[in-house]
């Protein structure tokens, strides 16, 4: 039984007010107003192009809102110092790891970037936790997609962030690994961290979450607590929305 995670210092309260994000003419997020309390486990669902990735990237401070406000603990993002990113962990569509460096060399580098003092030890810890210890000296180029994804998760976890933002983290993972990832996310959540993860797959991803957010065309079609039978309800909503759009 792996040890529980050290508790989060204090997860921030995240507030979106009428937040919109445009890319030229395309509206990715449309006047979203949401609040994420500290320690929630939110799964973000939606079709392709619904805005899941844009939402997560905006929360990760990779994108600036076009309109509206995003606040962490009542501080608007424009006034957050660079050091605030210490509290965020993000896994995106691309693994963002250096192909020609080994798994552990990558982690050593990122440990230094995140100011982790004992980077070598911490990297070894995280590799063990993600079951990558035996591939520590393999170059990333030679790792399979699934292993790369696990390494990306390892990197996100390296600095023990208060908020984990994961964009379709199950991509490329086989079924048993997906299970393990869900367990790992549950442990992160139990230590008081906020977890916001997006997913394609309705049924599969719902289980560990406390709250479900369904996005469509940049708006929230559904936002509520996770409950049994929710998958069916959401599926129906999506079908209805698709029919609306086709009309």
């Amino acid at each position: 039984m792996p040890p529980p995670h050290t508790p989060a210092d204090r997860s921030p309260r995240i507030v979106l007010q009428q937040l919109s994000k445009f890319f030229g003419r395309f509206v990715a997020l449309d006047r979203l107003s949401l609040t994420f309390e500290p320690g929630e486990f939110v799964v973000v669902l939606g079709r392709n192009g619904a805005g899941k990735t844009t939402l997560l990237r905006t929360l990760a401070l990779l994108l600036q809102p076009s309109e509206g406000e995003l606040q962490f603990d009542n501080q608007p993002v424009s006034r957050l110092p660079h050091s605030f990113k210490q509290r965020l962990g993000f896994v995106g569509h691309e693994i963002a790891l250096y192909d020609d460096l080994t798994a552990e060399e990558n982690l050593h580098f990122f440990a230094r970037l995140y100011g982790i003092n004992d980077g070598v030890r911490r990297a070894a810890e995280v590799l063990a936790e993600m079951d990558l210890a035996d591939r520590a000296t393999s170059r990333v180029r030679n790792l399979s997609r699934g292993l790369k994804q696990r390494l990306a998760l390892a990197r996100a976890w390296l600095h023990q962030p208060d908020v984990l933002l994961l964009d379709e983290p199950a991509t490329g993972l086989d079924a048993p690994t997906r299970e393990r990832m869900h367990e790992w996310l549950a442990r992160c959540h139990q230590s008081g961290r906020t977890v916001i993860a997006s997913s394609h797959d309705l049924a599969e991803s719902l289980r560990p979450a406390t709250r479900v957010l369904l996005l469509e065309n940049g708006r929230a079609l559904f936002d509520g607590p996770n409950a049994p039978g929710l998958a069916e309800e959401l599926r129906a909503k999506l079908v209805a929305a698709a029919r609306e759009g086709a009309r």
């Binding site: 990237r57 990779l62 693994i95």
Partner: protein
């Protein structure tokens, strides 16, 4: 984490990756060598003629090879979108710039030191009479090219036509470096006292300081999504 620590982390990472792949060095060396050969065929100068044009040929060779090297160096960051990982880090973008700048300067300098004897061979140049001054000119000139090149390779990364964008943006802006460095190298080759080049030295130093500072300030804006 201090700015210096971040910069050195990036430097170490770049040097490690370079040691593994030798992407940037081979690009600069092979291209530089090819240019030297092409120049020697194109001009076939006598030793006296060579002294007149060598400064220009040398620095043109360095500049074009540098563009190639800078592009390849930054390609490492765009593969797998590693740039995103840098954006996520709580590091001040200025320190990321410094780290990248240092690695570029180092790699360019090493390649230039290898290319110098090659040029010296083809054009029968007496380059090493005053090695200290030569190295100073090399350092100041390369720093200037790298200072702007590091920023602009980031600007042109993820742009369509990026192989065109970097030289198109960089070459006009490095004209002062080209002009000053060529003048100084020519002085060196003609065994003139280096005091005659004091204005050029000051220009290069000023250029290096101004643009390192400016690019350090502006890199954050370039790094953004």
């Amino acid at each position: 984490m201090s700015a210096w620590r971040v910069a050195t982390a990036l430097l170490r990472k770049d040097l490690l990756a370079e040691w593994r792949t030798k992407d940037v060095s081979t690009a600069i060396l092979l291209f530089g060598f090819t240019i030297a050969v092409s120049f020697s065929f194109a001009f076939e100068p006598t030793p006296d003629e060579a002294r007149v044009i060598a400064g220009g040929l040398l620095w043109l060779g360095f500049l074009f090879s540098a563009v190639l090297g800078l592009n390849r160096g930054f390609a490492r960051e765009t593969a797998n979108n590693c740039l995103e990982a840098l954006r996520l880090a709580p590091a001040d973008p200025g320190s990321l710039y410094l780290g990248k700048l240092l690695s570029n300067v180092l790699l360019l300098l090493v390649a230039e030191l290898v290319l110098l004897p090659v040029f010296g061979l083809f054009f029968n140049l007496a380059l090493w009479s005053r090695p200290g001054w030569l190295l100073l000119i090399l350092l100041l000139g390369t720093w200037g090219v790298a200072a702007l090149g590091t920023l602009f390779s980031a600007v042109s990364a993820n742009t369509r036509m990026q192989e065109l964008m970097l030289p198109l943006l960089l070459l006009p802006l490095t004209v002062p470096v080209l002009v000053a460095a060529v003048d100084l190298t020519t002085l060196l080759l003609f065994n003139r006292p280096m005091s005659e080049g004091s204005m050029q030295f000051r220009l290069l130093a000023g250029f290096d300081i101004i643009f390192t500072l400016l690019c350090w300030l502006l890199f954050g804006y370039v790094l953004e999504e």
